[in-house]
Amino acid sequence: MAERLLEVNDLKVSFATEDGIVQAVSGISFGLERGKVLGIVGESGSGKSVTAMTLMGLTRGVNARFEGEVLYKGTDLLKVSDAELQNYRGNELGMIFQDPMTSLNPVYRIGDQIVEGIQAHEKVDKRTARSRAIELLRQVGIPNPDARVENYPHEFSGGMRQRAMIAMALSCNPSILIADEPTTALDVTIQAQIVDLVSRLKDDFDSAVIFITHDLGVIAEIADEIIVMYAGRVVERGSKRDVFYDPQMPYTWGLLGSIPRLDRPKAERLHTIEGMPPSLINLPEGCKFRPRCPHAFEKCQQEPALENRVEAPGHLDRCWLDVEFKRGRRDETISGGSAEAA
């Protein structure tokens, strides 16, 4: 059993805003082992990015409130002071973000920015740090790294910038790499390359990865375990196999069904999930997905607990519907028909 690096227990994050209190995350729990990839999937506003940033302490602020635990190798990162947190960031936990153009400082060279990260945590001189930077750039697949290390971000293409960011995030050999929608701003072909890269680096650096995206297609490549988030909570969790082949949440069906697929040539419209995500300030009673769920029934007025209702022991969901009934209905939803599964 690989080393258990991260243990998140019932994490709750809320923000006080002028419109009221936003419940961004309402009790998420998961674990992460070395060498594993955890995929977190959800729409905008589901709480996935907030979760990721909270792990790094980037959501700390005057208006933020946290509950629960984030145990990294036994230490609760939520309770750690800001000063101590600096030792974890970049060093034990590395993070890459969605838009590499704006995430890199435009006025400093790529090499200098990587060196900065290295020197923040390790006592090495500039020359050593610089050669490490060059080596990192080579590892992430940037051609001609000796020259490229002197470039500015605007002289790189989108995909290369993201590679550079990955290099920067991995520069101090963190145990966990958190990738927050790293492929969303990139072309499809580049997406595939980045996903491959992350997968390979995970092995090279022997680290764990948390990969956040709204794109199930990307997740399918890389994740070992998948968490589906909705309205700030986990609505389904399981291995990749479980979630893709035996999804229990109608929401997950919706996500899977809305992927355009080449192998099912139907001249019908792409499946969409009706309605909009709920306001995080005024959450509905009961199951949060109920207002949009085509299969909702009376019991859904009571919020389902996240439980294991199927054979596979690690596969949890929040749905009251009878499992066999669901298995019967869901193919129509997923295979691109309309939402009328009746």
Binding site: M56, L58, V62, D82, L85, Q86, N87, Y88, R89, G90, N91, G94, M95, F97, D99, T102, S103, L104, N105, P106, V107, E116, G117, A120, H121, Y152, H154, M165, M168, A169
Partner: protein, 318 residues
């Protein structure tokens, strides 16, 4: 970069020519009426007026007059209508005063402005920030003339209070450095207060915006210390617009724009000279002073643009 500079220099010349023409228009053409009559004064006879016209070349066509005036200016022979003094000499005499005022005030306002703005941004929302913002707002709301008078009143022994500072006047640096400094302190601060308030607020606003930028978030995620993030990432980006502002403001003061401060404190610099010439509606000095001022603004505009290109590698000057 070189072609850029050359094109800009050329443009600058055009602008300066246009500026001189406009000054000319303003003074000769707009008031209407014959300048010779004005200059000759109340009790002039017809003969006087004709003589003046001839002497000053006012009987020529006005384009010719304009061109002549420019030539005279550049050869250092421009003579005041009012008292016959050489305009260029007078301007030169005023230079040390104006420069002293500008440089001292500039250092003070840039330094304090950045300091104050950074503190306000870093403590945003808390008491320190509120106090600083209030002070800055008050600072930019006070007329310079009044502020100067207040300083003189309270600090220069007007009311019989102990005179902490001398009451205006200028002592050349070469003559007595200590006195030079002492006499300039009040004018420096009077001029600087307005700018400190303004720059402080602009910087505060820039910093607060920049703090939310993605690259600052990345810097945090790398585990850098707050100081390093502030200085190398946040301030580095926030200060760039300040450079532009400072370049132009400093140019304006250097170019004799601090007319009121110079007048209030009896500092006989270029601005003061301008104010005097306006009182007497003396065209040649006005032409000289305006061109001098415009030149500084235009040159510093160019310098600021060049500086920008060095500060932000994305900018390419073509």
């Amino acid at each position: 970069m070189i072609p850029f500079i050359i094109r800009r220099l050329f443009g600058m010349l055009l602008v300066l020519l246009a500026v001189s023409f406009i000054v000319y228009l303003i003074f000769i053409v707009i008031p209407g009426g014959d300048p010779a009559i004005r200059i000759a004064g109340r009790t002039a006879t017809a003969a006087n007026i004709v003589a003046i016209k001839q002497k000053l070349g006012l009987d020529q066509n006005f384009i010719v007059q304009w061109w002549d005036m420019l030539k005279q200016l550049f050869t250092g022979q421009l003579i005041s209508y009012y008292d016959g003094t050489n305009v260029v000499q007078q301007i030169k005499a005023g230079l040390p005063v104006t420069f002293s005022l500008a440089v001292g005030a500039g250092i003070i306002w840039l330094g304090f402005g950045i300091l104050v703005g950074t503190i306000a941004a870093v403590t945003a929302g808390r008491t320190t920030d509120r106090l600083i913002t209030a002070a800055a707002l008050i600072g930019i709301s006070m007329p310079v003339a009044w502020l100067g008078l207040l300083f003189r009143y309270f600090l220069s022994g007007e009311k019989g209070w102990p005179a902490l500072f001398p009451d205006g006047g200028y002592v050349p640096l070469t003559q007595n450095p200590a006195q030079w400094f002492y006499h300039l302190l009040l004018p420096w601060f009077t001029l600087a207060i307005l700018f400190i308030g303004f720059y402080g607020r602009v910087l505060r606003s820039n910093v607060l915006d920049t703090i939310n930028e993605d690259f600052v978030r990345t810097a945090k995620a790398k585990g850098l210390t707050p100081t390093r993030i502030l200085v190398k990432h946040t301030l580095r980006a926030s200060l760039i617009p300040i450079v532009t502002l400072f370049g132009l403001d400093f140019a304006a003061v250097l170019g004799g724009g601090a007319i009121i401060t110079e007048t209030v404190y009896s500092l006989h610099g270029v601005g003061w000279y301008a104010a005097q010439s306006i009182q007497t509606q003396d065209l040649p000095p006005l032409m000289g002073v305006t061109l001098y001022g415009a030149m500084f603004i235009v040159v510093f505009s160019l310098l600021v643009d060049i500086a920008y290109a060095f500060l932000d590698p994305r900018i390419r000057l073509t």
